[in-house]
Amino acid sequence: MPNAILDPTGRASAAPTSSRGPLAARRGDLAGLRVGLLDNTKHNAMLFLQEVGTLLVARHGAASVSIVETKASFSIPVDEDIVSRYKEACDVVVTGVGDCGSCSAAAVADGINFEHAGLPAAVVITDAFLTTGSMMAEVQGQPDYEWITTEHPMASLTPEEVRDRAERLLPQIVDSLARVAS
């Protein structure tokens, strides 16, 4: 009997990642809801998120932007501490902007982690990182997870262009945070 060839991944015997359960429930609108923003440190991300926050309050009746944090490490998904701070302080989360290899994957994992804590999340990633986002969604047990895609690059936009971008993506962000799943 020849020796068996060993598996180098350590995952051969692992059960396929099962779905981690449903995403957070949506309410249909954003009236009176507190908005959390999570900046992933990438250039222009904070400006973009703050503009989105302002527009959600001004046009969609959100109560306020109630928590704004910057990730300590753009490449590491949010942990329970961060999720529970947001859970305490806000009702919906907008995060991004995924504009690099590791931060885009991490942003998808962030969105999924917020969802499982009951917080509807809108994740914005540039279109250069579709595949890595999908891979991370799969790793996180949420292969069908959807995020919002915008044109790459984001980092080289002027402040005016960033604000335009926020304006253009607003309908999708509102939809992502408020639309009741059919």
Binding site: N3, A4, I5, L6, D7, P8, T9, G10, R11, H43, S73, F74, S75, I76, P77, C100, G101, S102, C103, S104, A105, A106, A109, F129, T131, T132, M135, M136, V139, A155
Partner: protein
């Protein structure tokens, strides 16, 4: 062994099978079997299930045994395995590797530098063509690290790995320090670990400085300062670089009285560009950390490549042959720890 009939046909089927599993980096792999992996574990003298790395992004962990399987597949001999483990441990100490390094658009490569008598024992090249191919130990130790990242962490190109272009020689840069022709103490010894040791960092690129006609130490160093100071590699307020000197350059500098620390201090003081030069590349302002176009307010002011005090973290090694004055500038992530890891084997524990 002479009685064993080599079976090329089955070997070819095996090679194809390993490709079909998605385990290969593009080159053929050696099939790992338990008896082979047990020899790796025996040399290392470490518990097979000891966890030696974790990637929080995907929550996957590397054990000594998984590292051994990948090292065997990379073509390592069992006696190379302690070097793989030391290199891995040293990389896991680096913030850049623990963070998003393996997934990064920069597509960095570990630079693995080995010191000590183990270089001779393993046939690890430290002289001519040290950055190139031709030596099993150099090629397979570096490759083993790449296979661990690929297979255990599951970081595959185009998927979780998002290198825009990546580095030539990624997963292929493992060099011995040429201690015999170096005028200085071995690199790891100078950084606190005497004997067999690995020093490593996450490399952004290598670029040569070819200067074989000056005998003036400051002219030579000026050539390095110019290369290190160029704007193209600069994305944040500061950047980091080291030098792997050829023996000729190292000896010239040492003869002029330069220690490693002197070299680092000289380079740190003089590497950089004027604000005006940076403005031409749209990189003169670093007010928020990232370099962006600014207003070129003080055109003649000089901006230093290295952060103040960063010369202590400048990597200065010696490798290559005595055939010409050609050295390599090595660029790496700015927060390099600079801490070597001792290579240990089961026998010495």
């Amino acid at each position: 062994m002479s009685t064993v009939q080599l079976d090329a046909d089955t070997t070819q089927l095996t090679v194809e099978h390993l490709y079909a599993q998605g385990w290969s980096d593009g080159l053929p792999l050696v099939p790992a079997t338990q008896p082979l992996v047990d020899r790796f574990l025996g040399v290392a003298g470490r518990a097979a299930d000891e966890i030696i790395g974790h990637m929080p992004q995907v929550d996957r962990s590397v054990t000594v045994e998984l590292a051994a399987i990948n090292a065997a597949m990379a073509g390592c001999r069992p006696e190379y395995f302690p070097v793989v483990l030391a290199a891995w441990e040293a990389l896991m100490n680096e913030r850049a590797a623990k963070g998003g390094g393996w997934q990064s658009t920069s597509g960095p490569s570990p630079l693995i530098i080995v010191n000590g008598p183990i270089r001779e024992e393993l046939g690890l090249n430290s002289t001519g063509g040290v950055f190139g191919p031709g030596f099993r130990a150099n090629a397979t130790i570096a490759r083993a690290i790449g296979l661990i990242v690929r297979n255990v962490f599951g970081v595959h190109p185009h998927e979780l790995e998002q290198a825009t272009q990546g580095l030539p020689g990624r997963w292929a840069i493992c060099i011995g320090e040429n201690e015999e022709d170096s005028p200085w103490e071995p690199l790891a010894a100078e950084r606190g670990v005497v004997g067999n040791a690995v020093t490593t960092t996450l490399l952004r690129t290598c670029e040569y400085v070819d200067n074989r006609h000056t005998t003036d130490a400051e002219q030579l160093l000026s050539d390095f300062a110019d290369t290190i100071g160029r704007s193209g590699s600069w994305i944040f307020r500061h950047a980091m670089a080291g030098i792997v000197f050829c023996p000729e350059h190292a000896q010239l500098l040492a003869a002029a009285g330069f220690s490693r620390k002197d070299v680092a201090a000289w380079i740190a003081e003089r590497s950089g560009r004027t604000t005006d030069q940076l403005a031409r590349a749209g990189k003169d302002s670093a007010a928020e950390g990232v370099r962006v176009p600014g207003d070129n307010a003080v055109p003649r002011s000089f901006q230093h490549t290295f952060a103040p005090g960063a010369d202590a973290q400048m990597l200065v090694a010696v490798a290559g042959s005595r055939t010409a004055g050609i050295s390599m500038v090595v660029r790496y992530f700015a927060d390099w720890s600079g801490i070597p890891v001792a290579i240990t084997t089961g026998a010495t524990q």
